[in-house]
Amino acid sequence: MKELNYALYQKVYLIRRAEQAIREHYASDAMKTPMHMSSGEEAICAGVCHALRPADEIVGTYRSHGIYLAKTGETDRFFAEMYGRETGMAKGKAGSMHLTAHEEGLICTSAIVGTTIPVAVGAAFANRELKRDRVVAVFFGDGAIDEGVFWESLNSACVMKIPLLFVCEDNGFAVHVPKPLRHGYRSITELVSKFDCDVYASESTDPEVIYQLASKAIQAMREMRRPAFLHLKYYRYLEHVGVNEDFAQGYRDRQEFERWRANDPVELQRKKLVRLASEAEVKKLEDTIERQVTESVKRAEKAPFPKPGELYQDVLA
């Protein structure tokens, strides 16, 4: 119990702290890449990724700082990529929207909504055919549900009985357009439940609740040999793209943010861990993460930019 909550706090705090570092340094203009921040969705990233084993794989969206950090736990390649340096995971050629971590199982993330969903279907298919005991989880927003490729992928995974964890991170907006303007139906889960897959839903910001739900879904997926669909709500704290708040823009209400903020996943998880461990133990963990992030930022700032010829590398294998 303590171990689980410790691990979950480690993940949510790392995400929050790393993104704080981005916010602190972004104004210096050294990180020239469009940031889609994970603030608010930490419980989902940590909960689902912790339910996965190290060999399991994930696929994400342009808002994938959270799952990257939760799955890999590393910040050196992460910050180097944000700074466009040679030591980034793609040598600075990909940036914030295209994170990968081949060794740790992050297959791809994409700047085009919905595009990574079928990639996850194929990846999970390959694991099945090659008899690898690996689960794939694909993260996408509620905006991706508007894309045809989501339904094509869901249908294909269901008809081909491919175990794949669909994780819908529902923040209610596709960029800035709210659901009532986009959805000609009442409920996503109701629609998806008509398919041959298992559907789970939660509005919790508690990483442990998400972890338990994801674990249950993965267990069922392994037994039933078919996809599972997690519908998880959260509130995006910051603007769609960028590191600032955007409540002054008038498309959403600060009061709603305050309601979600009252159950902030990081604070909530901290309180739980303090009860199970001690304030000193929690502080020690935070200090360790603080040092990790600070040092990674420093290393990234000092790292060289890729050499000019690097432009031409890796176009083809």
């Binding site: 990909a94 085009i112 890796d314 176009v315 083809l316």
Partner: protein, 347 residues
Amino acid sequence: MTRTITYRDALNEATAEEMRSDPSVFVYGIDVGDHKRIFNSTKGLVEEFGPTRCFSTPLSEDAMTGFGLGAAINGMRPIHVHMRVDFLLLGMNQLVNMIATHCYGSGGTMKVPLVIRAIIGRGWGQSYQHSKSLHSWFAHVPGLKVVMPATPRDAKGMLKAAIRDDNPVVFIEHRWLYDAVGEVPDDTSAIGLEGARVLREGRDITVVATSWMNVEAVKAAQILEKRGVSIEVVDARAIAPFDAATIVRSVRKTRRCIVADNDWLHCGFSAEVAATVYAECLKELAAPIDRIGYEATPCPCTRPLENEFYPNAVDIIRAVERQLGLSQTDLSGEDFYSYENKFKGPF
């Protein structure tokens, strides 16, 4: 040793042989496993390899293209088949935004050994959504290899090479070539994905052709040979990466060049070939390069307009005559290709 087989059998053999030697190879797409088996190019594969390695999919080209990417990243060698190039357009987002960039975007840590076979339709009323080539589109995008074999030899050798390649390869086949017969070596391992190939040697003029236009170019060469005109036919074959060395070598020899492309002229591959030849050997050219291809109209359904739309051996002959200052050859006794001999539709 060589054997004489059809283009369709060459494709079929290449696929079956690679599936036998590598269990990670599988073939899929709309109608891949049905009774027609992609004009028999996938015949026998379900029976030999089972429904998990040769299967039909939902009509979801977009998702199934991304599916191939995911499977390729995770260790498989998928072959995705489209009965028409036009259908592949539904997967363009995956092809251009995802597949072409994945190796680059992963810092070279992940590879995409994926083959996308797409068939160009023509004739018997295929009209404007069953007849596109679009190799220039695909070749425009860095990160994709694009080939269009014109002979059974290359169909087999290049498909095997494409399956073994660690990059995404768009493999474009012309429907009319399926019945083409030619010699195929027992060992095709020397046939790669790169470079053009001289199909017929000549002295007086070089015709660089793509896909079906090679058949028209060879026909033109056979007719003009009777007048003592010697045409060198160079099959461009590899659209991307484009290695112009063979083409340039040929033009340096003949000092004249016609590009006969199986596609629209405007912003097309024929312009790329012409620009490259001009840059490499402008001063050696005896005349400006002619480009033969489709005019800027959609492909019509009705036969008379369809005939007008597609350039053929006659257009190549007339261009050769103009460049060489020859009078027009009397073609009244010549027997040109008529698709009704082999292809009566519907697809």
